[in-house]
């Protein structure tokens, strides 16, 4: 119990750091892939620090409270996850957080934001089945929805749940807002309809959004790591390796694909989820 609280606290304290570093490393790797030097590793941190110091502006004054709620719920999602509680619970808090982001986008009711908000909803619809099914996969393989019990089994989850993992990595591209699925907003200079959901975020609100994104990315990587980690010592380096490989893969996908239309994103992610996770589900159910 004590350990659980400590790890949740560690997440709350360290996730922004890790998230910022991850973002910085991602940008560096991207730059290197394109033959550029790229920004410093701490660039994302610099950006947020600057954004926090600027004049507080907003299109709708109501946006910032929704974004704060989004941020706090995102922190709660990760804290629940890393404290080893029920994984479905944290997924549901995650979806509520996503709804708050949607509200914060739509409340400005500007043309770009309205389009982006609709696309954000489509993204949620596209990725949600795979995330829920991943939880089901854990449950089938480990016999529990509790994260700490899943993490302390004797075998590597991935052996039982390769299909769930494939589907999860597929929709991770959507969740991490990487090309080809960055239809609602992107990290690149080649913008999607200006800046998608972040269009009307003034400097300070954008900082809140970025911090929430750091928390989210760490949580997502944690979830990817959950596919490997188990009670053996060797699983820890293996988990680190898998997380890094997944992260690298996402950047590679990001740099080697052009943005898709949302129809294709939606269709593809559902198809992949149904095929990979669905077949895996069927097999796991049969051998149980």
């Amino acid at each position: 119990m004590k350990m659980n609280i400590i790890s949740a606290l560690l997440y709350i304290l360290l996730a922004p750091l890790a998230g910022a570093l991850m973002d910085g490393v991602g940008r560096k790797i991207s730059a290197r892939m394109q033959g550029r030097i790229g920004p410093p590793i701490l660039q994302s941190y610099y950006d947020v620090r600057k954004l926090l110091g600027k004049q507080v502006i907003a299109v709708s004054p109501l946006q910032s409270f929704l974004l704060i709620s989004y941020l706090v719920l995102m922190v709660l999602t990760g804290a629940l996850f890393f404290s080893g509680s029920d994984i479905l619970l944290s997924i549901f808090v995650l979806s509520t957080a996503a709804t708050f982001l949607y509200f914060s986008t739509v409340i400005t009711s500007s043309p770009y934001n309205t389009i982006a908000a609709s696309r954000e909803l489509i993204q949620i619809m596209a990725y949600e089945p795979a995330v829920i099914l991943a939880c089901v996969g854990f449950y089938l393989a480990a016999g529990s929805f509790q994260v700490d019990e899943i993490a302390s089994t004797n075998t590597c989850m991935l052996l039982y749940t390769p299909g769930f993992f494939a589907a999860f990595v597929f929709i991770l591209t959507i969740k991490m807002r990487k090309s080809p699925f960055d239809v609602s907003t992107s990290h690149h200079a080649h913008q999607e309809l200006v800046k998608g959901v972040t269009t009307e975020m003034g400097a300070r609100n954008l900082a809140l959004y970025s911090i929430a994104e750091w928390y989210e990315n760490v949580f997502l990587m944690g979830m990817a790591g959950l596919f490997v980690i188990n009670s053996h010592w060797w699983s820890i380096p293996l988990t680190a390796l898998l997380v890094m490989a997944t992260f690298f893969l996402e950047i590679l996908i990001d740099n080697s694909n052009a943005r898709m239309k949302w129809e294709n994103m939606f269709r593809l992610s559902w198809e992949v989820t149904l095929l990979a996770a669905g077949v895996n589900l069927l097999i796991l159910m049969l051998i149980r």
């Binding site: 409270f65 619970l89 549901f92 709804t99 589900l281 069927l282």
Partner: protein
Amino acid sequence: MAVVIFLICFPLVMALASYLVRDDRTRNLLARAGVAVIMAAVLWLVFIWISGGRQVINCYYDTEAADHIILAVEVVLMFIITGLCCRHRKYWISLLSIVPTLLIAWFELEGPETERISHIQIDHLSILMCLIIAFIGGFIIIYSGGYMTHYHQHHVRIKPRKNYFFAMLFIFLGAMFGFVLSSSLLWIDLFWEITSVCSFMLIGYTRDEEAIYNSFRALWMNLLGGTALAVGIVYYGYFAHTVSLDTLVAEGMHGGEFTTIPIALIAFAAMTKAAQLPFSTWLLGAMVAPTPSSALLHSATMVKAGIYILFRLAPAIGGTRTGMLVSLIGGFTFFVTSIMAIGQDDGKKILACSTVSNLGLMVACAGIGKAETIWAGVMLMIFHAISKSLLFQAVGATENAIGSRNVENMHGLMYRIPMLAMFIFIGIAGMFLAPFGMLISKWAALKASVDSGNVVMVLFIAFGSATTSFYWSKWMGKLISRSHVSGSRHEDITLPDERLSLYVHAFLMIAVCLLLPVISRLFVNPLLLELFGQYKVVLPLEVLILLELIIIFVFAVPMAAYRYSKRVKTNVKLSYMSGINMGDNNSFVDSFGASRKLWLSNYYFSDKFDPDRLMVYGQIMAMALMIVLLCLIVGGILA
């Protein structure tokens, strides 16, 4: 147990009274008083039941006279239906009433002697239903008092028949009480027919062409179910010499003789009542009626009757082919109708699709027939009843205020009529957001389907909940966005009795959500014990407590954040429109240099998720599924 008889008969008296009273004010007062009496009676019933140690109460064993009255009423109903069908030249529909009535009459008069059974049974499930009917249904009647006043101001062409409307609402309540308290299948059949006819009358209230068409569709679909029910009852009574629902379920649990066919037929009937595919169209068509009747049909009565009977049957159908049929159809309906809701922009249609969809989930839970799934199903039923009723009433009041129930016209409702928008917001949040009960129940349903090894169901839930959150968030977004309507305020013309009902519902919504662990422990677990003889803890206490914390968190955080952000000095800028705003966020410079107004709209994907086409496909698929599985069931018996 006179209170039971009172509950069944008093609404009928009230119906007669409100039919005779011509003055609106007097009738509204009368209705309020009547509803209060009904609620008090239900509370009294609950009190008796609790003071009796919450045991199952069986009573009214010898009811020769009542049986004859019931048969007589059934024959009268047959004549009414036949008369109506003849007047509208839908002769064939009357067959669906004549055949079962004659069958039942033959069975009662000429059929074999049946076992002596109790006719009234009071247990957890029927108490729960009574509470839902009395309180949700009761407040809907109170709400109608205010609603109908405005309704007829807006719809001047429709001849007001408010006395008739109220009479029907009261009969409906009475029939529902009878339905959930009876344990004799013959009594159940009568109340079943009454609700079918009542809903037919309510749907046809406006008497225009569409209403008549839809009401007859509702009638034949429900009568078809009623026919299946009657055949099932007579079959079982003829061979097993008893018409007790309890015996049927108890025998069915052990795979008793002669139980498969009646259970399958009753389950079929329940699915028509619960508007499952391919019979969903009647509930979607029921939207032509005034809102209170839709609210009543969707949340407290009619469709819940189907769910109720399936929950009763659940222990007997779990793991059988009938159970497979029921759960597959339910899951399929859940998924398809939730996609269908994406393409709708009419508020009431979205509500209707979502009702069918949620009913599908409950039906599927019943079909799997494990204690865990019934836990989820019962929870779904409670939460769905409250939030759907709230939503219908709020949308109805909004329609009266802004003259439209189209979601697009609710743009910025939060700034125009904050109170109503708040109610819609709470209602929708209750339907899918994290701290509220629906999501928790869905979670339990998911867990239970995994446990019972139902792959298809898991997939349906995973994909269906994604589409569900899509159409709900879309609507919520519409409420809170401003721009092209900013400044145009609407007068809130909601009347006090409408307001009362809305407040009570919103309060109930949040209270039930907070009391979830208590309800689960004190009520739902004993309910499962009664139905199954055992229960498994679905959500352990730690999780429930954690859940409570999250609930408080999700409420507290936005509030605290709101208070905080109000203090921060914010410089408000124009929204980004590539620098061509015309001084505000509502218009921009077009290519002719002229000002053009901005108009924002949601995505509906009518080309991709065309609801009508989906409905046809869904019906065909569901029909095929049903035929295949019915063949399997029949084949299983013959083999």
